[in-house]
Subunit: 333 residues, 4 copies
């Protein structure tokens, strides 16, 4: 039985608390938050202790921590927790600074402790089924990957300003999805972006609409489209053309009702946002973490994966600024 | 906080245990089963006591019981629990005997205690959204209802023999769905059935394939199709034609992946069986029960609804035997 | 080269004129109509002669006639044309009177001339593909057939009065579709109907909404649903459950555009009515007729098929009137 | 009545012959081909004369010519026909040389004669309905356009070598579609391509898989994906995200049959190639040309549109070669 400390008590922490509690192989024993009242509340709901982060990390009876705090604390907490001998599941991104993330990777490597990054979309039943079919060779060799990833509405400008930008904050999930499906990193990245949804986002130095092309050494190509606004809901689709066919993962809908009237035929919208769409993925993600920690099997998402996605975000940011393709090697040097 | 005793510890009881535990307004305090080990196991998992059924019913601190035992015990347990002052949620059907179910309804009426019957499909998000649209007048006045309800595979012949027959065991859900959507009972029922899936089912005196037509006093018509075998999975669809349009609730699929190859275009099958398809409905059903009990609001499914569906099954059985339309009034007399 | 006379110059005759002209193996040489101006107009458009019906039938150089006149003339024209040695393609129904249709069948048999009835839906690419899959055993043995057939709007009451009623005028197509897919006639027919769309239709002695169940000697069941009004367009669907799966033929849509907005997801309606939906079927039907006549191969739809569908309409009419299942043998005696 | 000469008697010329003949406002009077037997054959089928190209152009009674010859003759024939006072509908592309196409545009301008380029996809009912919805503001302001355009199989290498390359031969249709939907030309073009489908295509100096990003002065972005091989058929889809929603035009399928078995759910493939998919568009295209010529209304696709699409192909070719974004102004200078 894995004894787990939860660092952070916000909305996503609540989702993780449910997953930890309902898993037969793990128990939620403590929770911390920089607002102690939030930790108290979550602790009461799940029958565990509200403690400080330091206290949790120092507690030798706790085997694992789930880090669901703000991004700027991730690297420090990963290092502290692994140094204290704990297994770690940390929400993405590792850090906004590639350099800091790489340093964190170095520290962790020396401890040998397992650190998994929360790219939960890998555990979405749709993307996961798509990858299984791809790996089984059902469409032959992959040639051209397309990822569509639109949020329902942009976050507040105050959030945009500290987010690290669309590529580090939003498209980082899609970079990881590309790596997950293509089985590794691209050679070069060409990014195009604009702030057509909201000029204030442009004024804050960010883009809200972007198309990024990834090219691979063997001729494969991937294209990622992001928009901060799709008024009809969270649009999360993947398709990949192979030598023997096409695989598509389409949106989940709120329900299956179809209405036909003189005005036309209408159906339900995509599930609204990431909590609705990806709820099952958090449960599967946690189960995969527990299995890997308990059996010593390879982690399904590594800290290296987190660093790689961040490097791609860095390259995309540079590509937009310099209006040219950027090799991943330029960024990783 | 509703203190709940769970009678029965089989597979469906486990589903209910999760719903009761995760609801903030209810606590699972005791479980019983005629095989005590099963009750022990469930009690351990959910942190409650394993006790006898009599003990649970006698315990005044327990406010409500959920009856998930075998059908032949339902009426007795409903009567005992309501006599002991408890609110009851009982799995369908009320009884295999219409007479016994009617007697039970009489007893319960005298106690004034709330008894809800577990027609969980009313809480399925798809059927529930369809009804909401219908009630809102989105397709005008209802005219012609169709219910398709196919199981993935027939149960063992041993089960068929004690099931009460397809109409009482399987189509009873669809009779209730018709009542739910049409807002009341039909006038007459015409049933057609055969044992084309498995002649052994016919030898056991039952049908495995059936079409039932319900006619209403105002000219509306409903048709229900049942089959014990749809090899592609659990097929659960409803459509209703109205004066201003059509509403359809289609199947839930295992995932949204579509594969296109030289061999054709293929997608995932419907979710396999009732636990997969209707899992969310059990949670919503329980929440509706808690709300009704706590607020005194009308129950969303009543014991009368359970008796009515059983009467319709009785009429359908008689219609097949006598090869003629049977008025519901003939059966209810 | 088949030289063809077209009897009738109305809307459907125009559709046939195009099919005849564009087929490399047939030439439209003459057209007649009881309103001579209509025949003149069509003749000018297609570069052929406007003549009288008698004249066309008497012309020995004309090998075939296509009868697209009013129903009450069909039997007489079929008899006259076959007696004159011509091959015939006649629009459905053969006649409104089963007795007259049977007499016609007797006359035709004595001539040995090929007479095909225009059940064009057999040539619809969707229903035709469904049947091909069924015949190929792709879903094993057929068990339960469902046909949904809704018109977009009811015809004028004046038409209803002379139509022979919904079963002879509208559902006759679905009876033939059932025979086409099930490979023969049912044993008994149980019909339910009401005039819920328009009480004037009921006042005229007809129904506008109907559900008909066909039962077969071997346990198979079919159900046909008709409504005179589906405000969203022409709804023409078939599905059949077999021992190894389900086949569905869905509606054709006006276009493939899908719009997703804050208000929902909407798509195009079904093609509006039979000319839009079944246009390609008339071309294929004509080609099949030409091939059968030229090669002496069996006709894909025979006069017997037309008589059988009419007998089923007769049985359905009697079933509604007498509120009981009617054996087809009762009607055919 | 427009009297039309058809230059070219190949496969696409046959499609045009049908459209010209069946239109009530045009008559096909002559056809030519560099292989006279082909012209003879088509002339016999459609009841017109087989003549030489020079003869047709010199014939003052012929009002319009449809040019369906090989690409290298387009510019010369456009110039000759307009100089002879005829209206012209010419298959795409105008020319493989941008310079020659621009010169042709100059010559034609001086004659004032109408020249329409055969970008038939603008007349596809799906893309046309999508544009109508877009123009009507149904998804607000356009932001992000995606065009997927995959051929079922690559052409022979011999064709690849004379085709002008994927951008001029295949993607030129998509460049025009982007201009059609976005209402004008982009500012810059960034193209990525590889020969992953067939290395022989790469050896011939061409690509078979390409992703092209178009950026517009106002922040809009478009992305076009091409592949020479989609084994499941002709994949022709468009989607556009706007400030108030998304519009998608999906593939046409061969039929609407869906089969569900234990192996999964399968449906028909997209219509196989351009003749099947775009057949209706040729009829609508011709009707639009006749209307414009007869009424003097603006042509729905102009020679300028043809030159613009060619300039975009030129820019894309340069972008791949130089591995950088290329401004359209660089190419048009």
């Amino acid at each position: 039985m894995l004894k787990v400390g939860l660092l952070g008590a916000g909305r996503i922490a609540g989702v993780h608390a449910t997953a930890i509690s309902s898993h037969p192989g793990s128990a939620l024993v403590a929770v911390s938050d920089f607002i102690p009242e939030n930790a108290e509340k979550l602790a009461t709901q799940y029958g565990c202790a509200a403690r400080t982060t330091d206290d949790i990390i120092a507690d030798e009876s706790i085997n694992a921590v789930l880090i669901a705090t703000s991004t700027d604390t991730h690297s420090d907490l990963i290092e502290a927790a692994t140094a204290a001998g704990k297994a770690v599941l940390c929400e993405k991104p590792v850090d906004l600074s590639l350099e800091r993330a790489q340093a964190c990777l170095g520290s962790v490597s020396r401890t040998g402790k397992p650190v998994m990054i929360g790219f939960n979309r890998r555990f979405d039943p749709n993307f996961s089924a798509l990858r299984t079919a791809l790996e089984a060779g059902e469409i032959g060799r992959a040639e051209l990957l397309s990822i569509t990833s639109f949020d329902p509405a942009p976050p507040p400008i105050s959030y945009i300003k500290v987010s690290g930008g669309l590529f580090r904050d939003m498209m980082i999930h899609d970079f990881d999805m590309a790596n997950f499906l293509m089985g590794g990193a691209p050679e070069a990245i060409s990014a195009f972006g604009s702030s057509i949804v909201d000029p204030q986002i442009g004024a804050a130095g960010d883009v809200d609409t972007a198309v990024v092309t990834l090219t691979y050494g063997d001729g494969r190509i991937a294209v990622i489209k992001n928009s901060r606004r799709a008024v009809y809901g969270y649009d999360q689709r993947v398709e990949i053309l192979g030598s023997e066919g096409l695989l598509q993962a389409q949106n989940m809908l709120e329900n299956t009702v179809v209405k036909s009237t003189a005005a036309g035929v209408s159906s339900a919208k995509p599930t609204y946002f990431f909590l609705e769409r990806y709820m099952p993925s958090y449960v599967t993600e946690w189960a995969a973490f527990v299995t890997a920690v308990e059996t010593g099997a390879p982690l399904p998402v590594t800290l290296e994966d987190g660093v790689l996605a961040l490097a791609m975000a860095e390259a995309a940011t540079r590509s937009v600024a310099q209006c040219r393709p950027v090799k991943l090697s330029e960024v990783l040097e």
